[in-house]
């Protein structure tokens, strides 16, 4: 690959690549293109094998010069994956298996016929939808941070260049450094990793420091359980994040950038490595980029499974080869960060927005969103929701639109109970909050937070005390141990919660639980500790009655807490078939002497002393004679 040394050469290369990409999408000269989702979700559903089979069949049928096959980033609609898209018709096939490949090749690629059974079916209208843009899930979405994901081949820099990559950097390099920062400030971009601190102001702080060694760090330690937007961006369009990092480097005067990525994300790491390598080969990273005096290099460091490293100062310690423990602030990283040098730490999603802002101007972002939260935000919808996946929506969309219009509502006709946003540090929002427009400040006002954008939906079958306990176990495990409110306090909180779910707690315990939760909030060193009690406090605020039911009635209303429920056989419904007794792993089910009216065999009963509440009998009974109480 020859190096691009000037702005003119970059423009020429971009023109060439963009006409190539347009030709692929428009199907010029009778060409067709097959693209497959190459995100983690679809890859685990055999998307790679499906791709191989396409390649093999296309070669066998002699279609090589007419049909291309490649992977793209995440389509976002994970519950309907794996996806296969055919250009130029723009037909989207979903839930494709390896056995469907032959049919797609024969009927569609050769015969030009759309395969109806592989199209998405709109659950409302029951109509088949052939194009992505017509699927309700995508209609309210706007792709800024996810720009290019599901569209371009993340392993080919030419496709990214054809899609506008590095135009933002080129524009920035022609501007004054202070003007670049002003553009980002004007866009109103706020940190997408959780805090919501204005990105431009962070840059300004580092810019104001005297010249010398400075660093840009990209926080890709996406630890919030239930959030996977950073992974998808790195997998789907790594060059956008690299470009964002380089722009930040130019603005603050840094020559080196570090990506800190979770080791749990091997595909993201490999694509990022490849993208850095390709950008270096073509001269868009390295010395004197585009003939200017700006030089910039990007490096990758991997995490090793510690949630607290998502906290920026803990992350810096980890890069420095130390235990990932937070540092007291001030001094803030913008003053003394990596190796004591001025450093900005930006989240993956924030950096992915930066090239878009530079390329299209601040107003391209400010036209979306609310007064104090501009632009769009990516959410990872998960849990008890029909359309599990990744969605990017303008700020200000309501939770109701997110859950029902985009998310398709709750499966199985169950009742919505709560949506947990912001991961372990966030909180639960309920029915009464559904018409709240989503933005940084509104979510905080409602007792939760934006966090990194994880949004887990819970239905009537989820016990909120159990959910609080789940988060507390997580926090306990992940507390780094540096400060005692967090180290000891979270453990004590967990013990109270266990006492409650075991039916052994008193109302006094509940009072102490609440007091301790508030103490941890005030007394901890870093954000992990300061927010550690949020799951308890927010579930208490909305579901105090569930806590009280566990304590006073010794009952779990959602029938989740094992120690508060028992399985029984309704004897008049029991046919005496004995399937449950055979499925019981601990021989807790015995035949009785009683035969119910109208039944031929004596019924069974469960010995609650022996029962381990595994639920095997419940799922084995064909007559629905076994109930949870």
């Amino acid at each position: 690959m020859s190096k691009i040394k000037t702005f003119e050469e970059l423009e020429a290369k971009q023109r060439e690549c963009s006409s190539c990409l347009a030709a692929k999408f428009k199907g010029e000269a009778g060409k067709r293109a097959v693209v497959l989702c190459g995100g983690t979700g679809c890859l685990s559903s055999n998307s790679a094998e499906i791709q191989e089979k396409f390649k093999k069949l296309i070669e066998e049928k002699g279609l090589c010069d007419r049909v291309t096959v490649n992977q793209v980033g995440c389509f976002g609609f994970c519950s309907q994956g794996p996806f296969v898209k055919i250009y130029p018709e723009d037909t989207l096939y979903r839930l494709v298996t390896i056995d469907d490949v032959e049919e797609i090749v024969e009927k569609d690629l050769i015969g030009g016929e759309v395969i109806e059974r592989l199209l998405y079916v709109d659950p409302e209208t029951k109509e088949k939808v052939a194009k992505q843009e017509d699927i309700t899930f995508y209609k309210k979405q706007v792709r800024v941070a996810l720009h290019g994901c599901g569209n371009i081949n993340p392993e080919d820099i030419n496709e990214a260049l054809g899609d506008g990559a590095f135009q933002g950097l080129a524009k920035a390099l022609k501007m004054d450094r202070a003007d670049v920062i002003k553009e980002v400030l004007d866009s109103g971009l706020r940190g997408r990793g959780g805090g919501g601190f204005p990105t431009g102001r962070k840059w300004q702080f580092a810019y104001d420091q005297p010249d010398g060694e400075k660093y840009v760090v990209c926080n890709g330690d996406e630890g919030d359980p239930g959030a996977f937007m950073d992974r998808s961006i790195l997998e789907g369009n790594p060059l956008a994040v690299i470009e964002g990092m380089a722009i930040a480097g130019y603005a603050i005067g840094a020559q080196n950038g570090y990506f800190y990525v979770r080791a749990e994300y091997p595909i993201a790491v490999n694509r990022l490595k490849l993208a850095i390598q390709q950008a270096e080969e073509i001269g868009l990273l390295g010395d004197n980029i585009l003939g200017t005096d700006f030089s910039f290099r990007a490096h990758i460091r991997l995490g090793a499974g510690a949630f607290v490293c998502g906290e920026e100062t803990a992350l810096l310690n980890s890069i420095e080869g130390q235990r990932g423990m937070p540092r007291p602030r001030p001094p803030f990283p913008a003053v003394k960060g990596l190796w004591q040098c001025p450093t900005i730490v930006n989240n993956v999603e924030s950096l992915a927005c930066v090239p878009y802002i530079l390329r299209n101007g601040a107003e391209s972002i400010t036209k979306y969103g609310t007064e104090r939260s501009r632009g769009t935000k990516v959410f990872a919808l998960g849990g008890k929701i029909n359309n599990v996946g990744l969605v990017e929506i303008p700020m200000g969309v309501t939770l109701r639109e997110l859950i029902y219009d985009i998310g398709g509502g709750i499966p199985g006709g169950k009742k919505f109970k709560a949506i947990q946003t912001g991961g372990p540090s966030g909180g639960c929002l309920t029915e009464k909050d559904l018409d709240t427009p989503i933005d940084f400040d509104n979510l905080v006002a409602k007792g939760s937070m934006m966090g990194s954008g994880g949004a887990i939906v819970m239905d009537e079958d989820n016990c909120m005390v159990d959910v609080a306990k789940f988060y507390m176990e997580f926090i306990c495990d992940e507390s780094c141990g540096k400060c005692s409110p967090c180290r000891i306090g979270t453990k004590r909180l967990l013990e109270y919660l266990e006492k409650i779910t075991d039916g052994k707690a008193t109302m006094k315990d509940l009072e102490e639980l609440e007091e301790l939760a508030n103490t941890i909030k005030i007394g901890s060193l870093c954000a992990l500790g300061q927010t550690a009690a949020n799951p308890v406090l927010s579930t208490l605020a909305s579901f105090r009655d569930e806590y009280i039911a566990h304590i006073e009635k010794k009952e779990c209303p959602a029938k989740v807490c094992k120690n508060l429920m028992r399985y029984t056989i309704e004897q008049d419904k029991c046919f005496g078939c004995g399937v449950c007794a055979r499925s019981c792993p601990v021989d807790a089910i015995q035949k009785t002497d009683y035969t119910a009216p109208g039944k031929k065999l004596p019924s069974y009963q469960i010995d609650s002393e022996k029962c381990v509440k595994c639920g095997m009998c419940l799922s084995s009974c064909k007559f629905k004679a076994i109930v949870k109480k």
Binding site: P225, G226, A304, G321, G383
Partner: protein, 163 residues
């Protein structure tokens, strides 16, 4: 360094040299060693200390802090059950309980024959296919409790055949 073979010593030195040009490369060195050998015993830490000049105490501190690093060998198959929120609300606890029950070990432990280790993972970002299990990097989507005996049998057969 009585326990380390010459080949191992050479390999670990080579791993340290890979990052000679990098500033504070300890995490990268330890990640590579963990990947190569599956654990980082004290003898190896001493060797890394010699090469990098970081004290053994500091290295031990780092190894014990991060959940990816292990002082003891792990099983041939590392069964990582995702206990992220999305997986949890879809029944991941029952999934990990079933693995524990069949293998007779608690999460974090390794079976006596050295075949399996169960790890509780914190969100692998595969929320679209919850509950997810990752075994030696291969992700199993939407794992049902009743499918678990089959998964274990398959791995046992495969592991036994390669042994």
């Amino acid at each position: 360094m009585a326990h380390l073979s010459e080949a191992a010593v050479a390999k670990i030195r080579e791993i340290c040299d890979r990052y000679a040009g990098e500033r504070t490369p300890l995490m990268m060195i330890l990640s590579d060693i963990q990947k190569e050998y599956g654990y980082i015993p004290l003898e190896v830490q001493e060797l890394v200390s010699e090469k990098t000049g970081v004290s053994v105490a500091d290295i031990y501190g780092v190894v014990t802090f991060y959940s990816f690093f292990s002082l003891k060998p792990k099983g041939k198959y590392i069964v990582g059950v995702c206990l992220g929120t999305a997986c949890y609300v879809k029944g991941a606890q029952q999934v990990i309980d079933k693995f524990s029950e069949i293998l007779g070990i608690a999460p974090g432990e390794t079976t006596e024959d050295g075949m399996f280790t169960i790890d509780a993972l914190r969100c692998i970002g595969a929320c679209g296919i919850a509950p997810a299990v990752s075994i030696n990097g291969k992700v199993y989507p939407k794992v049902e409790v009743k499918a678990i005996p089959g998964i274990i049998e398959e791995l046992r057969a495969e592991g036994g055949a390669n042994a």
